[in-house]
Symmetry: C2
Subunit: 565 residues, 2 copies
Amino acid sequence: MQVWRANLRRQTVTQEDIPDSWIGLGGRGLIARILLDEVNPECDPLGADNRLVFAPGLLVGHMLSSCDRISIGGKSPLTRGVKESNAGGSTGMQMARLGIKVLIIEDRPVDDRWWILYLSPKEARFDAADGLVGLGVYESARQLIHRYGDKVALSLIGVGGERGLLAAGIQNLDKDRVPSRIAARGGLGAVMGSKRLKAIIFDGVEGEKPPIFNPEAFKAAQKEFNQALMNHPQTHIYRDYGTAAMPGMSNGFGGLPTRNFSRGRFEEVEKISGETMRELLLKRGGESQTTHACMAGCTIRCSNSYAGEDGKTIVSPLEYETIGLLGPNLEISDLDQIARMCREINDLGLDSIEIGAALGVAAEAGLLKFGDGGQALKLIQDIWRGTPEGLMLGNGAVNTGRILGVAHVPAVKGQAMSAYEPRAIKGTGVTYATSPQGADHTAGLTIRAKVDHLDPSIQVDLSRKAQVNMAGYDSLGACVFAGNGFAAAPETIRDLLNSRYNWQVSTDILQQLGKETLRLEREFNRRAGFTSKDDRLPEWMKHESLPPNNSVFDVSDHELDHIFD
Amino acid sequence: MQVWRANLRRQTVTQEDIPDSWIGLGGRGLIARILLDEVNPECDPLGADNRLVFAPGLLVGHMLSSCDRISIGGKSPLTRGVKESNAGGSTGMQMARLGIKVLIIEDRPVDDRWWILYLSPKEARFDAADGLVGLGVYESARQLIHRYGDKVALSLIGVGGERGLLAAGIQNLDKDRVPSRIAARGGLGAVMGSKRLKAIIFDGVEGEKPPIFNPEAFKAAQKEFNQALMNHPQTHIYRDYGTAAMPGMSNGFGGLPTRNFSRGRFEEVEKISGETMRELLLKRGGESQTTHACMAGCTIRCSNSYAGEDGKTIVSPLEYETIGLLGPNLEISDLDQIARMCREINDLGLDSIEIGAALGVAAEAGLLKFGDGGQALKLIQDIWRGTPEGLMLGNGAVNTGRILGVAHVPAVKGQAMSAYEPRAIKGTGVTYATSPQGADHTAGLTIRAKVDHLDPSIQVDLSRKAQVNMAGYDSLGACVFAGNGFAAAPETIRDLLNSRYNWQVSTDILQQLGKETLRLEREFNRRAGFTSKDDRLPEWMKHESLPPNNSVFDVSDHELDHIFD
């Protein structure tokens, strides 16, 4: 494995040995280390000095169930702090086959031409991206697959990233070559766009699987992990309902963000529940899939494919966060409308959480009517047209609130919250507040813990553990759902890493990786100018109570300040 | 003199004695002291905890030539730091006649109703503002004068302040009851709007002139100051040309911001020069005035009244900053168009500098064509309509750049630069960078110094002196042009203050006031989270050279960091 560097100004790709201090890190942790080592924390995130880092997790390359994720990072133009965003699909696997420990994208061209970076074992080169600029993500991916073959992995941006919109993500192909696996959060698509890089082709077809030091021990550990994962009851729920099973649960806790985070329960939740969607898709048939794997080898298969009445796919997947932010948050209960909005946002290469939150803020300002899915879709289409209205939404919830003069903006460190109300699921509120990544459920979700989610006294501890674990999983390349297997058999992480790399790590390696990652990320943010004042929920969430629990966010600032002591 | 406090929630007005530590301060310095004493530096500038402070300068109330200015302050929603913005007109004088050392506006109503605060020697009350909301500033002022009589002073906001736009200012009547004396910068109109206060009526008709401890000594000092002022050659230039004499000078230095601060010289400068405007107005006659006093007793009379071809006033005044930002910065050379845009911006209650800069940024993004005054006027009218496009512009240059993805935004601490290019007039660049107020020429203009404005080695010293002096003048209530008199006879400041207040200040009182003011302001900003990184010009101004001098801003960060040591 090597470090690959691509420089857009010089049009060069070089390979280097891995520095000692990077060897034990992968994915999210490695990104934090590299940002600290190489990126000025005060740089302009969309300037030449920022770097865009692609780092597969430590376990990537072996088709371990849902452990082939790709982490992408850089200084975020949305939060202006450290950023890692990860995705499933085939990119991680193909990078491992190319022997790439990490790919670092540097600088930007002197002129305005757009480029495709092609990487294979034989060749690394820059191809002109003429003709792709301005196209939708789906059509761009189709043309790229046509040009480079259907075995390659792709990372690409849409119009959102091209235009530097702060809600732009980076999309990756799923195992069926649908470009819907988006490293969505924090505006990394805008960073890629600032470097005039439309797409990266990871052509590992003639590459090799990464070497395993002790294959037998690795296989034994893999088997044990698989069994633990399959035995976990949650695994089967995800297969049947995907993440879309969640509306019922969060609504039950009064924590389903409704009408721009002003209520925690949605009257029409039945119309968007996982059960409703499953029945609908089974009835519609055609291209509908109620279960689908985003990456080869995944046994959980939490994804889906949402088809319309004619049996043709509208979008794949349609996940809880998207349903939550574009549905209840806008008081829209029509799944077809939500699916069409999601398709459009994907095609623009944007983060559906950030856009859904921005639309909620816009609705509070009266720019659209709550409940009017047709109008919401039109506003999303304004992003294509590049109208100031569209660009405002494409720059996320905080900017939308700033322009429209809306005080109720559900965001931390400039990034919108996902579909868990922090006044009802307070542990996740602690995560939103204190994660170096800004408000983000994937940084440490607490809703599944069997605790009183309203009791402020226990949430900091809960969030810290979740954040440490998640930072660990994000460094392994493991999906959060793989965590159910690892939690049941934690020694398998140790065994997998030791047999893969000839290391001697101990059973607490997950926590070690997680803690070190958080330490590095917080240090980057500190150098970027963040203080404890940035580790706060919006002030109004401390004062305005949330129906139906009529709770406020009442975890003390003091506790938040000492969460990582 | 007393401290008056108006509380919008309780609908009370109270009078208090002046705390000892406030007595020696006035205007800008007093505002900084009060903000430090009473306002949480981390508060939401548009929340209930911010305060809006009206403080006449120490010399206000005696018709000293151009020394009756009113300072208005609070935590700025635009810069999120300390803010003082001052204006001429009659407000300062009427406050002095009411015996108000400072008026502090606190809190906000529990509901959404709008209010007028009426203050007289006999009565302080809140009147309903029904019917005024949504009207233009000119029509609002007309109705208020009709209701309260034509002897009162008024401070009021327009639609900009009502909607919380970050470029909103607070307008005051000039001596002819035209509501064009705007405390424009930093979004204080939005603060007033957040408190649901449409207008304040200062009815000092039955009040008294402030007492003078030693009238004879005061009169002698006044005479001496007047003579020094009248003897200064600049005074006569201002009378003939007003500030509009400036385009020729700044253009000559290559420092006239042109085409969104991309060039320092405007090819069509002749069409907008002070000479051209004077000739045009003399030819047009009618309501045109080439010289006009904004406050009673001013001998400089730098203001003007700009009439159209039909001899009817389009706007009064039309000043250099407005001409610069709406003219060369947009490549518009038609004075009639510029005057109409200025009228519209005034009527909205917005800062023409901030709006002009925002339009420049929007033009760079292609939202309007450089040179197209008709289109620019239409965009300004979109602010009335409250379209997202209009609201974006009304929230200033930085927000416009953020939404439209424009990197070239001429701003510091969130506030747009005025019509002096910092790469050509580098001392003013130092002021933009280091002033606690954000980019603002009134914080310390250096263009009149007889130095090489391109030599980086001398600018920090020049700017510091200018900043200290201006902070002093802003504490006295003295117009920058009065400074020409005071500079020639500095002992008159000492004599005026000592005879007015029975003080024993020394001749360096101007510098003492200035230094203390800057110290207090910097401390407020420090507590609000500002660091040395905020004391910087935009990065691109250090790298991209400005024609015709092809100079960059090259005063070192180190020097900037130590300017106030």
